[in-house]
Amino acid sequence: MPTTLTVPLYRAAHARTGDKGNRSNISLIAWHPRLWELLVEQVTEVVVARQFAHRRPSRVVRHLLPQLHAMNFVLDDVLDGGVNDALNLDSHGKALSFLLLDLSLEVPAELGDCLVGPSASPST
């Protein structure tokens, strides 16, 4: 019986993107309060900056809202100037919430029933 499950972040949390100028904010909301601590441990500013490295953010800040089991990531200068300046089809960066949700998470097996969606594949 594996003690840890490797799952995509979207099984543990959901997210939405907002934009203002060249700045993107991505909320990350735990599906279950018991997942909160491991999200805080694993989905850090450094991890998020790495996931978005090809968009070259000048700064990544994480705001924690423990009462809501949610966090808010603010990424500066990731939108190629923003909705009025970028050549991107999605110049708001609306799809970026799913880039965040694609991160990998290590979840203790006993928290497996807090995850959403079809069964996780256990790590070896």
């Binding site: 909301i29 809501l68 300046d85």
Partner: protein, 452 residues
């Protein structure tokens, strides 16, 4: 003053942006009437760029410049709202609130209704001679070389509240902070002091939950198998029940599609927020670090724990300016080696358009919206063998005639490009940039007047 006797204020939102569904208001109005107490219907139809485009429209036609779909939004509900004293508050005035007000008066007449008392909010527009020095000062060196199209301050709730207190049945604004569309009615109904920061902050967050329409009721939420939303084609738009302390319960009309639960509310609560301790509006600085969300029943969620701090001494101003033209072109390839042919077409276009500035190339279906403008995804990734690919290229240029060359080169691929390319579409549109600055609060005078 003891206000506990004042009934709950119901605020419904029937539009979250210009381009939203135009048939959402009817069930919301029915629900507001059925609830029976004081009620307000808001429409939020003024994003940053929408106002600049409206200014351009007004330049071309002095009677234009307000929300183009105003009639469609109001026609289904105007009679019922007037009959049942459901006030209407909106920023669909855009660049011409007085023009919008006149159109509403004409609409009422067309529908055989008595003339409604319509108030117009003005003072946000800073383009006039009177504000030239103020704006120049606020922009400083940012103003260098800008071809300014519009400059508008974000007004707050006070003029809206004053208009309602003076008897307005319909309040038509230009640029106001979105949550102020809800705070104004709350201020007027409950008579809070203008520096009652906690109550203003609570009403502000109620307004923030409402201001994007269906985004809190299951819209922009569904993800099959993970986040399921019933009845997406008939989403119910939100209603906030606001009490004398500004606390709210968010719900939606019975019998409509969508869902409201802690998760849909949390997504909207955090939307477009940065620091949760300091959500700045013209009315207050809201602090949601201790906020809590609780499900009270089916499609009923309460927001609590919001606090407020003194409002900023300045108002934010959005200045829109002409930045040039965006040219886009697309062509599809399918079947064996579709991706190789799309990649080849991109190379041909790069060579043909050399010297025009940076050109972005996307392989839609393989790599598009996650990539950035500067990156060259095909150069660093091997062909994935995709069999249905749409090549998209885009560039920006100050001169529309130069920008247009991209469109012509994509079209020419019909005879000059790789085999089997089809479905060319091209577009050329004017771009407007925005620059933000701030002005001292007392240098801007938001006020209302009644349409004669």
């Amino acid at each position: 003053m003891n206000r506990e006797h004042l009934p709950t204020l119901h605020v419904g939102c029937a539009a979250g942006f210009s381009g939203d569904r135009t048939d959402a208001a009817s069930p919301v109005v029915d629900a507001l009437i059925a609830a029976g107490g004081p009620a307000v219907l808001i429409f939020e139809t003024l994003a940053e760029r929408t106002l600049a485009l409206a200014q351009l429209a007004r330049r071309a036609d002095p009677d234009a410049g307000y929300e183009p779909l105003l009639d469609e939004l109001l026609r289904p509900v105007l009679a019922r709202c007037l009959q049942h004293e459901v006030r209407i508050v909106s920023n669909f005035g855009a660049a011409n609130p007085a023009g919008a007000a006149r159109r509403i008066a004409a609409l009422a007449q067309e529908l055989g209704l008595r003339a409604p008392r319509i108030a117009v909010i003005e003072g946000d527009d800073l383009m006039g001679e009177a504000h030239r020095a103020l704006l120049a000062d606020a922009l400083g060196s940012q103003a260098q070389g800008l071809k300014i199209v519009s400059a508008n301050a974000y007004l707050g709730a006070e003029a809206i509240a004053d208009a309602l207190l003076a008897g307005a049945e319909i309040v038509v604004a230009g640029r106001v902070a979105d949550p102020s569309l809800t705070v104004g009615p709350a201020l007027a109904h409950f008579g809070w002091a203008r520096d009652d920061w906690d109550r203003l902050a609570r009403a502000t967050m109620a307004g923030h939950l409402l201001e994007c329409g269906a985004q809190v009721t299951g819209g922009y939420y569904a993800d099959p198998g993970y986040k399921d939303v019933p009845g997406m084609a008939q989403l119910g738009y939100p209603i906030a029940e606001i009490d004398a302390d500004g606390r709210c319960v968010v719900t939606k009309p019975a019998g409509t599609g969508g869902r409201i639960d802690e998760h849909t509310v949390k997504e909207q609560l955090l939307y477009e927020l940065h620091d949760p301790a300091a959500y700045l509006t013209p009315d207050v600085v809201a602090d949601i670090t201790e906020a809590q969300v609780a499900q009270l029943g089916a499609d009923r969620v309460r927001l609590s724990g919001v606090r407020g701090h003194a409002r900023p001494a300045t108002l934010k101003v959005n200045v829109c300016h002409e930045t040039g033209w965006l040219a886009e072109g697309e062509i599809s390839y399918a079947g064996p080696r579709a991706e190789a042919r799309a990649r080849l077409a991109a190379e041909v276009l790069r060579e043909r358009l050399k010297g025009l500035g940076p050109m972005r190339a996307d392989l839609i279906g393989v790599s598009s919206v996650f990539a950035d403008d500067a990156g060259d995804w095909p150069a660093s990734h091997a062909d994935t063998g995709a069999r249905d690919v749409r090549l998209r290229v885009a560039l920006h240029h100050a001169d529309p005639k130069q920008a247009e060359r991209l469109a012509r080169e994509v079209t020419a691929l019909y005879t000059c490009g790789p085999a089997g390319g089809g479905g060319v579409r091209t577009a050329l549109r004017r771009r407007l940039g925005t620059v933000s600055c701030t002005v001292p609060r007392d240098s801007v005078h938001g006020r209302y007047f009644f349409l004669a």
